[in-house]
């Protein structure tokens, strides 16, 4: 059996070994306890000094590396199983700056180490006591106590006075019962409330006292004495002193330091430099023993015989009695504020040489942000295993998921928040977002630090000072608060819109509001990024803008922009491959690197659709409808068989006979704007089903394909618009020319008509000139038209013939046609289009596209009718808005999950929903762009029941909501199911 296997099997036999004296441990015991951390095949991230080669020069730098040494890895002596320890160490890994401290602590706990105490100082929230707790937890399952030194007499660590309530804690229980029943004497109540140490007693909102008896028992000698006096009085007042068992006493006993030494426990003394000044003198010899300076020391109990108490008189620490589990981590605050935090004795400095934790680096911020969001320090793990992760991202995902739950019990696994798993599956997004968040938090912390803020902007002198810094304290704890606050789905605030359709009927307000919009279940991760970044924006205002610090608020808002937190679209249509924090953390259901998971989701989605749309299908097992393998193959075929620009639509196949082998069939688009389809008469029954089309917009791969196919790469609409524009201008000019000709003929009957050429004679000369000018204007128009037709790769025969005839006429009229180039747009080879046309073709620099397709909707009676589906996309923010008919709850949920906003035009609240959706999808768009989107939709849609002569006027007044909710297609893009030999995908 392998060494590893032996250890695993022996895991249960390790219990108690840490509490044995090191001297009594056998080699086998040590081997059983020893767990390697950081071997060649399983490196453990570590921060430290490395020699770096740069341009032939070597320098010493502090970098992130790894411990990866089979002979000398980090060694941890633990009674826990290997997998539990490794899981803990990867999940709760200290920040890079604190990694060397973790390494030092583990070194200190080796059996051969005489030094068993480690002291670190750092800013609040750096994770000092957490690191102490982590080491203790990794050692064994036994409780790990964190001793709060704040305000305490340090001698209590050696000998402490404790309250003795006797067997069964009868007195506390009797008092608690009376408190709960409200049956305690008012005087007793007052004594307990005001006489017991404040920290251990609290009054609830409903006026009940809650006493922390366990804390009170060992609250330090002074507190215990105070509590003893109070409880003695209360006991008498309540008549509890006479009852049997309600004993109350005070005893001195070994303090935590001695108890832990005896029991072989690891413990953390927190906030050591907040302890009571001058009280650690008695500790000095103990500290010398703990750091290995001396091998024996005796400490004397100063409480012995005090206040009639009994207890041990002294204790002797001997090196040979040291247990393997024994060790101490002391923490202290870096800031010496002179009030609660004090400077330490010189002797403490020299004996314990406190290590100062550096200010958090960007890497540290990112590490903690990742840990809080996912339960794992994804950024540090990625940096450590970068090459492998980049080469095989799916395998890295698997490792992340493994580390997240390694060694946890089933119960603990069940408690992992779903969002952790979702974010880990999207680790690239997490890394991108956390990097920006790290910059933001670091920048925020610096802007609230007077030393740094004033260097940045001297004007902040009136706004940022040390008091303010303490008040807002941007540290890791704030990150925890913010991220946790953003986790649950909360009510969302939208910008006020004066035209909102609010209920203004006082009578209806008296009743509870009808739940007009059925709440659709949204996963927590779908809009996590939006919630988090909205919260951060609010916090900036709360702590700066709203706190009378306008200069700071301005800097913070700028920082937020620079760090790319929100989808602000600083420059309209600016395309960027970098995602904002908001969009990176708004996790799409299908946006996972795990292809298998994507396929499973697709299978479920497809099977649900088939069951819903085809009552003949009774199978409850998804595999009976389509297997994962078939779905995977189909999705891969979509990717490989369809070229990027193929205008082919994928529509779910609902034929039970063939759907399992061909889950999708293809459909085509017939665009009436295309000249060749001008006479197309749609057969409603042949159109693609509304629900089927809608379903594909939420489907992986199919959605991408169909959204591509919706747009018109042939520029049919632009060509049609161009041609109709020229046609109209031609008609106007031709009409003018005809009138001039008629006028000329009427005014000059004597003109020689033999050759049809007017002579420059008499009063008619002026009329000829005007006629020629108009004809030349028409010629110029035709030249432009020909040039643009060439730009569109269209034939120019008709225009060329017309120009030839026109030239003849101009000459006949005595005109000169030498200046052929005037005012003519040269042939450029590029189609130059207005932005509304580009938006209609999804080719606009604004990143916005808007169009309408026509599908069929079948009612309950089986009657089909053609209905429009409007689609607006924002390519910059990767958002899609679809306005169509009703969708099932399941489909609505899916739309949300994949980031498609669907508006049911038949919903009575559709206009308000649409306003909100339009504001979101066109966030940052200029007024011109908004008008162009409207214009783009008007190219293909007309108002219903409006006289043709009034359409233009009507359109000018119409809002975008009117067009999307009530107009009908005029130049439709009909989606037609392939009837014959459909291309099967």
């Amino acid at each position: 059996m392998s060494r590893k296997g032996t250890k695993k099997d022996n895991a249960n036999n390790k219990a108690g070994l840490l509490q044995k004296k090191i001297a009594d441990l056998t080699a086998e015991d040590l081997d059983n306890l020893e767990l390697p951390l950081g071997t060649a095949s399983r490196p453990y991230p570590m921060w430290g000094t490395v020699v770096v080669d740069e341009d032939g020069h070597q320098s010493i730098e502090q970098r992130l590396g790894a411990v990866k040494d089979d002979e000398e890895p980090l060694r941890l002596y633990s009674e826990r199983k290997y997998e539990e320890v490794i899981g803990m160490m990867y999940r709760d890994m200290p920040t890079p700056s604190m990694m060397p401290m973790q390494k030092d602590i583990l070194e200190m706990l080796k059996p051969e180490s005489k030094n068993r105490i480690y002291f670190m100082k750092g800013d609040p929230g750096a994770g000092k006591s957490f690191l102490g707790g982590l080491v203790g937890r990794a050692q064994s399952e036994r409780p790990v106590e964190i001793f709060d030194c704040g305000g305490k007499n340090m001698n209590d660590l050696l000998f402490e006075m404790v309250l003795d309530f006797g067997k069964g804690d009868a007195l506390p229980q009797a008092i608690d019962k009376r408190l709960a029943a409200g049956a305690i004497e008012p005087l007793s109540y007052g004594l307990l409330k005001n006489g017991l140490p404040e920290k251990y007693v609290e009054e609830t909102e409903d006026g009940k006292l809650v006493i922390d008896w366990e804390g009170l028992k060992e609250s330090g000698t002074e507190n215990v004495e105070k509590a003893y006096a109070v409880l003695t009085k209360v006991s008498k007042l309540e008549g509890l002193d006479s009852a049997g068992g309600n004993a109350l006493g005070m005893n001195s006993q070994y303090g935590l330091a001695i108890r832990d030494f005896i029991e072989g426990n690891f413990s953390t003394y927190d906030e050591y430099n907040k302890s009571k000044e001058g009280t650690d003198n008695a500790l000095q010899t103990f500290l010398q023993f703990a750091n290995g300076e001396i091998d024996e020391c005796t400490v004397v109990n100063p409480l012995k015989n005090k206040d009639q108490t009994s207890g041990p008189s002294e204790f002797t620490f001997r090196r040979e009695d040291t247990k393997l589990g024994w060790g101490i981590v002391m923490t202290g605050n870096a800031v010496e504020d002179g009030t609660t935090t004090r400077s330490l004795n010189k002797s403490v400095y020299s004996r314990l040489t406190p290590v100062t934790i550096p200010k958090p680096s960007l890497m540290d911020w990112q590490h903690r942000i990742c840990q809080i969001m996912t339960g794992l320090p994804v950024s540090t793990l990625y940096r450590t295993f970068k090459d492998k992760a980049d080469k095989d991202p799916e395998q890295f995902t698997e490792m992340l998921l493994y580390w997240r739950q390694a060694g946890l019990s089933e119960e603990q696994k069940a408690n992992i928040p779903q969002i952790h798993t979702s974010l880990l599956k999207n680790w690239k997004n997490v890394i991108e977002a956390s990097e920006k968040l790290a910059k933001f938090y670091k920048g925020w912390a610096e802007l609230t630090d007077p030393d740094k803020a004033l260097i940045k902007d001297g004007n902040l002198v009136d706004e940022v000072d040390e008091e303010y810094q303490k008040e807002v304290s941007i540290d890791f704890r704030k990150v925890i608060q913010h991220i946790q606050y953003a986790m649950p789905i909360r009510a969302k605030m939208s910008r006020a819109n004066p035209s909102d359709d609010v209920d203004f009927n006082p009578k209806s307000w008296a009743a509870e509001p009808a739940k007009r919009i059925k709440r659709q279940k949204e996963s927590i991760e779908r809009n996590f990024g939006t919630r988090l970044t909205d919260l951060l924006a609010d916090k900036l205002y709360e702590t700066a803008g709203g706190a009378g610090k306008p200069g700071l608020y301005k800097h913070l808002k700028e920082l937020m922009k620079q760090c790319g937190l929100k989808d602000l679209h600083l420059q309209e249509g600016a395309h960027s491959s970098a995602k904002s924090v908001e969009s990176a953390l708004n996790i799409n259901l299908f946006d996972t690197t795990d292809l298998n998971e994507q396929v499973k989701l697709a299978q479920k989605m497809f099977a649900d659709y088939v069951r819903e749309s085809n009552p003949e299908v009774k199978a409850t097992d998804d595999n009976a409808i389509v297997t994962v393998a078939q779905m995977k193959e189909t999705l891969e075929r979509v990717k490989t068989h369809l070229s990027e620009d193929a205008p082919v639509f994928l529509i779910p196949n609902t034929d039970p006979e063939t759907l399992s082998s061909n889950p999708f069939v293809t459909a085509e688009k017939i665009d009436v704007a295309d000249e060749k389809n001008r006479d197309f008469e749609p057969v409603t029954e042949e159109l693609v089903d509304h629900d089927a089309f809608m379903m594909t917009l939420a489907f992986p791969k199919a959605a991408d394909q169909n959204l591509k196919a919706v747009w018109d790469k042939e520029n049919n609409l632009a060509l049609l618009l161009m041609k109709s524009n020229y046609a109209q201008k031609r008609i106007d000019l031709e009409s003018d020319i005809e009138e001039l000709k008629a006028a000329k003929n009427a005014a000059a009957p004597s003109t020689d008509e033999t050759d049809g050429v007017s002579g420059p004679t008499g009063g008619v000369f002026g009329d000829d000139d005007t006629l020629v000018e108009k004809q030349k204007e028409l010629l110029d128009l035709l030249k432009k038209e020909a040039a643009q037709l060439k730009d569109f790769n269209q034939p120019t025969d008709e225009v060329d013939t017309y120009m030839k005839e026109l030239r003849k006429e101009i000459k006949a009229a005595g005109g000169d046609i030498e200046d052929e180039t005037r005012t003519v747009t040269p042939f450029t080879g590029d189609v130059i289009l207005d932005d509304d046309v580009k938006i209609a073709e999804n080719d606009s620099d604004t990143g916005i596209g808007a169009t309408t397709v026509v599908v069929k909707s079948v009612n309950e009676n089986g009657e089909a009718k053609a209905v429009p589906v409007h689609i607006i996309v924002n390519n910059s923010s990767k958002k899609t808005l679809v306005v169509g008919g009703a969708a099932s709850d399941r489909l609505s949920t899916l739309f949300r999950e994949v980031g498609v906003r669907h508006i049911n035009r038949d919903d009575q609240n559709a206009a308000a929903q649409l306003r909100d959706a339009l504001a979101d999808i066109m966030r940052g768009a200029s007024e011109d762009t908004r008008n162009n989107v409207k214009s783009a939709l008007l190219f293909r849609n007309d108002p219903v029941g409006v006289d043709e002569s009034k359409i233009i006027e009507h359109n000018e007044k119409a809002s975008m909501e009117d067009i999307l909710l009530s107009y009908e297609p005029y130049l439709g893009k009909y989606l037609v199911a392939n009837k014959q030999a459909p291309r099967q995908m």
């Binding site: 937890r137 408690n415 986790m487």
Partner: protein
């Protein structure tokens, strides 16, 4: 303190009970039919998922997650879950924190466990647990 605060399950103090012992509890898992047991498991998962997704949460000093849950069907299910330790006093809460077998702790509404005290107890015990604190709907914390 006895044995560094360690106590076995059968040495329980007042204000301490296993989940599943709540009034009107569903039949025990062993007595329940397979289907009922499955239903119980699904209900427990659903309740936990709903809580983790919708309820305010606070991360305590050593990584424990404290969820503030409005009294409702979710808390009713959590309270009856045999894997959950139900505590009604500070003492029982601290014992649950110190018991490695109690990985999930439920504090019912009305329990004599206040938030500041709960925080302090969590600070002095380096453990990572999941804690559900039931609250009256009208008074739910906004962590």
């Amino acid at each position: 303190m006895t044995e560094n605060g360690k106590k076995e399950k059968n040495g329980k103090a007042d204000g301490y009970r296993e989940g599943g012992a709540a009034p009107a509890a569903s039949p025990s898992l062993s007595a329940a039919s397979g289907a009922e047991a499955d239903m119980d498991i699904v209900a427990r998962q659903a309740a936990r998922l709903k809580i983790t997704e919708e309820c305010p949460v606070e991360i305590l000093p050593h990584g424990s997650r404290l969820y503030f849950v409005a009294k409702g069907w979710e808390t009713s299910i959590i309270e009856k879950d045999p894997d959950v330790r139900v505590v009604e006093t500070l003492k029982a809460f601290e014992e649950a924190l110190r018991d490695p077998k109690a990985e999930t702790v439920f504090i019912p509404e009305g329990a004599r466990v206040t938030l500041p005290q709960l925080m302090r107890i969590s600070r002095r015990n380096a453990v990572e647990k999941v804690i559900y604190k039931e609250e009256n709907k009208g008074e739910q914390s906004d962590a």
